[in-house]
Amino acid sequence: MKFFVCCKQVPDVAMAFQIKDGELQKDDLNYVLNAYDASAVEESLVIKDAVSELDLSLVLMGAEKGKEALRKGLAMGANDAFHIEDDAFEGSDSHAAANVLEAFFKDKEYDAILCGKQSQDMDMGLTGGLLAEKLNIPYVTNAVGLEVNEEAKSILVTRQGDAGQEKVELSFPCIVSCSNDMNEPRIPSLRGIMQSKKKPMNKVSVADLGLATDAVGKSGSKSTLLSMDFPKARKAGEKFEGEASELVSTLIDKLTNEAKVL
């Protein structure tokens, strides 16, 4: 079997960041492998452990430093990586990312492509489904569990839906967007990290994919990010300490007479 995981490198959203003149200050950011993509890598590796002939490749579209995210996935246990790198990618939205990934996958052989359910920085969650539609293959999002059936050439996906957990069977080839509720991604071992340095990191350019530069980056995007800002901060509220029964009567009073929600 052949799986690909689409990996994005994202700023660590748990860290503090600065916004100046409507722009995110990129220099102070710490970049990581998107957590949802790490879960997709982890789940593939679990399958790989059960089905030894699973070949797992990673693909990332993005700037030079994106190779660190790929190295992380390789250190976790993926076989090789493809880094589609070009300065023209700056300002890409999910549509532009899907254009590039479509061109990449057009002539590739694969059983499944796994994506993250969303990128941690943008929370957009469009790329996987868009890519599936472009490649004309079925997809499921928000996966919390995977079981492959090699003989039937299919995958049973458990997804968190509105009515509960839905089990859906997809035949290969297909795309699954993964939730981090699927697993806890492994921390690469020292040996894994050493090995990752010898694993193939294939560079791919926009020209290699036969894409015009205006199909990518800002011009390949359908939406434009105009500006960023901090949200209106909630007013710092009141804090109460003391006996439980006192705290309760204070709260009841506040909710009834001040907030008027009781």
Binding site: P11, V13, A14, F17, H95, K117, D121, M122, D123, M124, G125, L126, G128, G129, L130, A132, E133, I137, P138, V140, T141, N142, V144, Q160, G161, D162, G164, Q165, E166, K167, V168, E169, L170, S171, D181, K222, S223, T224, L225, L226, M228, D229, F230, P231, K235, G237, E238, K239, F240, A244, L247, V248, S249, L251, I252, K254, L255, A259, V261, L262
Partner: protein, 325 residues
Amino acid sequence: MSKILVIADQKDNKIKKSTFEVLSEAKKLADASGSSLEAVILGEAIAQEAKVLAHYGVSKIYTVENSMFKNYLNRPFIDGLKKVIDASSPKLVMVPTSESVKDYLPGLVGATNACGIMDCSAVSLDGGKVQIERPLMAAKAVSKMESSDDLVILSIRSGSFDAVEADTSLSCDIESVDLGTVDIKAVFKELISAQSDRVSLDDANVVIACGRGVKDKSGFELVEKLADVFGAAVGSTRALVENGIAEPSLQVGQTGKVVSPDLYIAVGISGAVQHTAGMSNSKVIVAINKDEEAPIFSLSDYGLVGDLFDIVPKLTEAVKELKAN
């Protein structure tokens, strides 16, 4: 003159509250820009319920009824909605965010070659451009975005807009659209749902959410009792879902659901950004935590510093008494 199309979201053939929020805002946008407003609803048996959409000033309603909508799969939604979009040819499509919507919308955006933007919190029309606001960076920042595409499809974050009062004197044309044959390459196997009589997170005015602080199932049940006296929904952090103490569908946050009730009570929750991303828009936030430094206190209106095992049962009693009077 352009057109706005709202996709109604329903559960068990009942239109969800979030749909009325989106319809109300779409009507304002339509009136302000001289556009017309249409709506579409898909489901197993929704012809009757569809009429309710007219009460929000919609000039035409499309219905797509088919038994294929019984168990959720994305393909019938993508194909059905593509048909309606081709027939209606709107400039802007708006739909309230839900797990199903998050699933089928990317495919619909691809199938219609539209510009898609998920989870918007504000929308405006400026000539041929659609401008939106949406949170990002785990809701620690908001962004302004714009698209001048011919077709823009937006999902709308719950609680972004207030629903107006329905005007039951209004009615309009209803057109039934045939789904036709759908080429489905996926098979629905099973639904594992934890049925509960409690109000769902999507529709709740009050949410009582709990985190690792409740420790175990019996702590969780204390919170459930509190929710019951409030008539509230129960929410949870990822920590309790991971431990198997809370149902996955109760998770609130970046991975889980976004809620914005009138009252959100966070019990034993630290307030990690990935959790607050899903609840920081609640109208009134109460936090109960024994650590006075817990980050949740920085966004709560009322913070009770103390042991939840002491406070929650007393609060339950007090609310029960209040409601009885």
